[in-house]
Symmetry: C2
Subunit: 241 residues, 2 copies
Amino acid sequence: MRSRHQDIADDLRQQITAGRILPSERLPSEAALADRYRVSTVTLRRALAVLQREGLVEKFHGKGNFVRHPHRKTMYVGGWGTLDPWTAAEPGLRVSISSTAVPAQSHLATLLKVPTGSTIMEFTCLSREGESPHGLARVYMPLDLVPPGALDDASRCREAATRFAFLGTPPTAARDTVSARFPTPDEASALRIGSASVVLSITRIATDSTGRVVEATLLAFPGDRVDAVFTTHHVIDERQK
Amino acid sequence: MRSRHQDIADDLRQQITAGRILPSERLPSEAALADRYRVSTVTLRRALAVLQREGLVEKFHGKGNFVRHPHRKTMYVGGWGTLDPWTAAEPGLRVSISSTAVPAQSHLATLLKVPTGSTIMEFTCLSREGESPHGLARVYMPLDLVPPGALDDASRCREAATRFAFLGTPPTAARDTVSARFPTPDEASALRIGSASVVLSITRIATDSTGRVVEATLLAFPGDRVDAVFTTHHVIDERQK
DNA sequence: CAGTGGTCTAGACCACGAA
DNA sequence: TCGTGGTCTAGACCACTGT
């Protein structure tokens, strides 16, 4: 059964993909569109919700509905903890970083294998592609592993953070746990996405050769902008002979 | 601003998690709930949509809203292409498989690196945990690589498919591309999830030692039931210095 | 058939953003 | 202030499920 709001979504989608409404342009107001399609505002908003989930339209309360720029998907490269240079370099990602010392809550303490309540360092990195936020990283490290000067010399870790690489010393092993979920309220506002969109969430645990956890990173990416790629080789390394 | 439907969702969620409504039990009808909370049906349905997205409630047209069984998350283990035995074994996953020969559409041909339109084998695997679907896998292989007897002896590949492992010969390398997105309509119905829920989507390309693609697998898991985990060991490459 | 969820309406009122 | 989106209503009608 074809529902009215789906028909409207199809029509608007076709107008957008055909270029009749250009990126960053505002759509007619919902009242105007409801009038044009002869439907109630509720129905028209359901149509827009479809397009919003597809990533075609961005809503701003009080301003209007805007056609989104079609973003190429960037790749998070697993294990190494970097963004694929091919896709990440060109768009020119900019990162803002802030750091604070925080007491380790229970789940963070578990991840880092430190006592609950002990002080750890938190780095919050938000990368933007032009105007639109593109990724959110929260990096947690034990205090003694924070590289000296990292707090003062922000540019030093900026290089690494741009690609979501490791901030401290390179670890010997990393474990990425990937899940698909809805954004938390603060992620939704930080990434400027609706609370009904999808987030690719990655929890990365980095350990050194002794098995100590040197870094725990919580990454959140808008699902329609970032994929994660992991490569596994099943053979014995040739260099061992 | 706290919206009415969120308040109602909070109240119902609390009743469910507190055990006042048990799993697989039916909620009161939407009309009854709307009456109880003194809201319109539209508002009440928005509250239920919240719970549905959270995976707490399952809707069935004509039957009612039911509390879902709380499933522990199972782990898809990257690269190896298996489900973590610890989480997968106990629940007793059951898999139904069907296979057909299909012409390779453009995107499949690209993945498998075969000519567009050439015939390839498609295996569709749907795993269930009890009643509820748990994962959907579509495995594509070149015809000549299908292990002999795989089509007749379904039990042979059933073992592998239960864990989403490789059906053919073990590959030497695998590349997993993970994304978070909304389900396609057929995935939504196959997995019995709402079209507004989240799926963890994995495209896995397996290659042999010559670089030939031996298998391409499209995996779709409900985001609230499956995580994917990838482990990377940073090979110390001192030799090159 | 009765009972359930699914869609839609016409209109009201609230909250936000830019002048 | 005004125009925008966000939430909500009270009721209608349709579609699906089981008896």
